[in-house]
């Protein structure tokens, strides 16, 4: 079913996709002419396939549960923010705060993601085939961030338990983020994540970064890092 945003109101398209009767309705949808609209496909809860043909604005696929959403274009700030489950695949570039605070699901970005990618992520797997900007994985709590390109300044600042894998250069690490050993367990996990994104890059080419766990509790010696 094609939903044309030039003819239909954004709210009616979102309402339709949010209220799928899974016994009756079709499960495949195409949204045409998104024209940079905000909050396209926000709050979907059913296991449906939606392809968005074109560039979208902020908070696309926000709070997603179960749905499989493909964006054939670029996305604005906060794609898949607070996603719980499901899959969001961006074929172009993403603006800042991609996958912010998301608890689960998979976010794949074929291009670059700008600053604060995976900020405060809480369990999502994010795979970026290009590079990420500054302050990525800031205060990230769990889940995995895979970057096939380079990472900007202050990667993983104030990190908790997210695993970060970067293939290219890291401009600088944030407070309490350090390079970690890549064990067999991590290589297996990374291989699985790369496979999800259709990439056959060898896990050996990546470095792993994680929390040094020095800022978990207040320590006067670390006061300048807080």
């Amino acid at each position: 079913m094609i939903l044309d945003l030039k003819k239909l109101k954004l709210r009616s398209v979102n309402e339709k996709l949010q209220n799928i009767d899974h016994k009756k309705n079709k499960r495949e949808f195409v949204i045409s002419n998104p024209e940079g609209n905000h909050a396209v496909c926000a709050g979907l809860t059913e296991n449906i396939d939606v392809t968005i043909k074109g560039h979208v604005g902020y908070y696309c696929a926000g709070m997603n549960q179960n749905a499989n959403i493909i964006v054939d274009g670029n996305v604005g700030t906060g794609v898949a923010e607070n996603m719980m489950s499901g899959k969001v695949h961006v074929k172009g570039n993403a603006s800042q705060s991609a996958g912010a605070t998301a608890h689960g699901g998979t976010l794949i970005i074929d291009g670059d993601a700008s600053s604060r990618c995976g900020i405060s992520m809480k369990g999502i797997d994010i795979i970026v085939k290009g590079s990420v900007g500054h302050m990525s994985a800031f205060m990230a709590q769990s889940g995995n961030l895979v970057v096939c390109g380079d990472a900007g300044e202050a990667l993983g600042d104030s990190l908790y338990e997210t695993d970060i894998y970067v293939k290219g250069k890291v401009k600088s690490l944030g407070a309490d983020c350090e390079e970690k050993k890549m064990s067999k367990k991590h290589k297996t996990k990374l291989k699985e994540l790369l496979k999800k994104a259709g990439s056959n890059i060898k896990p050996e080419q990546f470095k792993r970064y994680g929390s040094a766990r020095k800022l978990y509790n207040f320590n006067i010696d670390n006061v300048s890092n807080y």
């Binding site: 024209e35 940079g36 905000h38 604005g76």
Partner: protein, 292 residues
């Protein structure tokens, strides 16, 4: 908030439709800036005549026309709503003091190619009022304002022009504008408002005496403190800069015919061939410039 938009044409193909393109961009940024709007448009300048963009405020057009005729050797005075474009062969050093004597009007910009129009009200009303759709030109910059640090007035509206054929629009706020204003005043710069962006414009004008636009904005990275995405225009140049933290958004679309920039992609969704454009976010702390 605030919305900023700009187009720099790389070929002549869209010169006639430049006003229409910018107008739609401004209107779609109304949600980011409903308080006032303005635009600067650069036209080719074959006849070497100076143009002075003036907001009449409360003065009537007839009265202004009669009074200015007595003082300046005129080529033309064109009325556009409450603005006037005064065209004269006289150089700015002669005209500017004469215009300063009119206490009620505001000079919003001058130069050989630039024309500036700005007013309080919603962007859709402002573009309609000045008939932006009918303008042609080579490059243009616009702004929709959500007022934060100074009042909703014509003087508080963008673009700011503080030098010949120069203009600046800004999304963000500067934190060191009072100090910088004092320094620039000592060097002879003049300011007509308390607005932070006017100070950045004055800083750019002052620096352009010694540097080109790209060098100026690079220097601005260390001298201007605060949040900003800037679009700056000169006679033949066009540049974009985001502060190093990049809190304020910007997206660029580039094709073989034009470069467009706006706060959000939706402002560019109507542009010709935009879906095949190279679309990217300007990186923080990097000056992007065209022309010059």
């Amino acid at each position: 908030m605030c919305g900023i938009v700009g187009i720099y044409l790389k070929s002549k193909k869209f010169e006639k439709s430049l006003g229409g393109m910018l107008s739609k961009m401004l209107v779609s940024m109304e949600s980011r800036g409903p308080d006032s709007a303005g635009f600067a448009i650069y036209k080719s300048d074959k006849n070497k005549i100076y143009k002075y963009s003036i907001c009449l405020n409360d003065m009537s057009f007839e009265k202004f026309k009669n009074e200015i005729k007595k003082k300046v050797k005129l080529t033309n005075v064109e009325k556009n709503s409450d603005h006037v474009i005064l065209k004269s062969v006289e150089k700015p050093y002669k005209i500017l003091p004469i215009l300063e004597d009119f206490s009620t009007i505001s000079l919003v910009g001058y130069g050989k190619s630039i024309e500036i129009f700005k007013q309080v009200g919603s962007p859709s009303n402002v573009v309609k009022k000045f008939n932006l759709d009918n303008f042609s030109g080579t490059h243009a910059i616009g702004h929709t304002r959500m007022a934060t640090e100074s009042a909703i007035t014509t003087d508080g509206s963008h673009p700011y022009s503080t030098g010949e054929d120069e203009c600046l629009v800004h999304n963000g706020s500067l934190s060191n504008h009072n100090n910088l204003r004092r320094k620039l005043k000592k060097n002879g710069s003049k300011f007509s408002s308390d607005n932070d962006t006017e100070v950045a414009a004055g800083y750019i004008s002052d620096s352009l005496k010694k540097r080109n636009l790209k060098q100026t904005l690079n220097k601005g990275l260390s001298d201007l403190d605060g949040f900003y995405t800037f679009i700056a225009g000169t006679h033949s140049g066009f540049a974009v800069l985001r502060d190093e933290i990049a809190c304020k958004p910007a997206v660029i679309a580039e094709t073989k015919d034009y470069v467009a920039i706006s706060s959000e992609f939706q402002a560019m969704a109507h542009l010709p061939n935009v879906n095949n454009a190279k679309i990217f976010e300007p990186e923080p702390g990097i000056v992007y410039s065209w022309g010059e």
